[in-house]
Symmetry: C2
Subunit: 245 residues, 2 copies
DNA sequence: CGACAGTTTGAAAAAATTCAACGGAAGTGG
DNA sequence: CCACTTCCGTTGAATTTTTTCAAACTGTCG
């Protein structure tokens, strides 16, 4: 089990800027795996970077609990427009957006080699009847995801490009810290395009914002290796508008 | 019960552009009220336009099923930035974003005189243990709301201002039609500012987009009275980019 | 090595915002 | 009912922000 985590840490990382190799038990977000196992068969899946966990159009049958790795969730419209709606890591639950439908509308793609546990949805519902705390947990997870979505909706309508990028970095830092890794230095697992899509910007704009934040001295960034050198300044920049050209 | 609907139809409407006074039983979105009543006490509340159903900071105890009227849901950040995250009408469930927390983070405000049924959340959970279909229903509602949020997130990152406004009008039209009203002519219950906030635009931009759509001849609009004169053209404009200055 | 996807930067263009002004509708209080 | 105020909506012009287009550069991988 820990071996998987180790594998995760070292995969596709070269300079390996991982400060704390401490792996916390399980974050408050997801399901308690042991509780699930007492009710149903939970199957493990390993995914290489680039592979899809599910794709829009496939039948919806299961939720997936992320055990290790990093994935993105993308929504595609009929006319081909696409957007990254969320990034997921250890403790997150994937596939929730398909609940109540027969087919996936979103695709979930691994951005790093990942390990997930498959939770058949009908089994989960059946288990919820026996264990009421489970259904409450499911509702909590869905609502938390909704709050998260809305947080970013708020950011998009009220924050400029640079502020959004700053917020994004801080958010990623916080998530890494929650999992016991360094919030000061980490690897972005997604491309500039993915970040851009998620923040409703173009990839050039993201690059420019990152370069500018680096110029201001609050971060250092090389490709996907991020160091937050001045967190409080970055925090400040994520809220106010300090534009020095 | 129908009297309430009648009251709703005529309130704050002058030219009264309501074509079909047909009121459909209950849309697929929300809960079945009778099913809920067999499990718990469901209280009714009436709200005048402008009054809040709940506000950020208040303790979370109940969900609300909209029976009549029109409400907006707004998210406010600590530093005062605000945004409309959703509009709700008959059949929708409000308060879901607070599930799993003790306090509301959002405010729900009536934009027209409204009637809601209060569903105490702990009662709902308890009822879910007895009636498993109820918990599945709750999950469905939450997931549907998530899909809706993401639909708009996609729109914001891939559509221009005018396209977003066109999409918005079509969406409102469809919702009105679902409820048995005319999808061709209806009253916007919210201000330009509210639309702008929801679409991540400024109110002037929304006005300009509406004026331009009217110039192109696919809608007619006077203040909040909307007529969709060329739905297929509007549909087209909501996807492609046809800019005639 | 060479191809290639991802990243960076610059300059021009487009889109949306800001600022400002005005007109109309609704509401208040005499 | 009118005067007055306030909120909402519209429009124009200048400005800012973001995008688009183009080119170059950098690791990665076969």
């Amino acid at each position: 089990m820990n071996a998987v985590i180790q594998e995760h840490n070292s995969s596709s990382i070269h300079a390996a800027p991982v400060a704390k190799p401490v792996v916390r038990p399980a974050p408050g977000a997801g399901f308690d795996l042991d509780a699930l196992r007492s009710h149903m068969l939970v199957q493990m899946h390993k995914l290489e970077a680039g592979k899809a966990l599910y794709r829009a159009g496939q039948p919806f049958r299961s939720l997936f609990l992320v055990h290790a790795g990093f994935l993105k969730n993308t929504l595609v419209s009929e006319d081909g427009r696409e957007r990254v709606t969320a990034f997921h890591m250890r403790g997150d639950v994937l596939g929730t957006e398909a609940i109540g439908t027969s087919m996936h509308v979103c695709s979930a793609v691994a951005l790093d080699s990942s390990v997930v546990w498959e939770v058949p949805y009908t089994c989960l519902l059946r288990a919820g009847a026996a264990d009421p705390s489970l259904q409450a947990r499911l509702a909590d997870i869905l609502a938390a995801e909704m709050r998260n979505d809305r947080r970013w909706m708020l950011a998009q309508s009220t924050l400029g490009a640079e502020q959004r990028v700053a917020s994004f970095l801080l958010h990623m830092a916080a998530r890494h810290e929650d999992l016991g890794f360094s919030g000061r230095r980490f690897m972005l697992r997604m491309s500039r395009m993915d970040i851009a899509s998620f923040l409703a910007l173009k990839h050039e704009t993201v690059t420019r914002a990152l370069s500018h934040l680096a110029d201001l001295g609050c971060i250092r960034i090389q490709l996907r290796d991020v160091q937050i050198t001045d967190p409080s300044r970055l925090e400040q920049l994520s809220q106010q508008n300090e534009r020095i050209h």
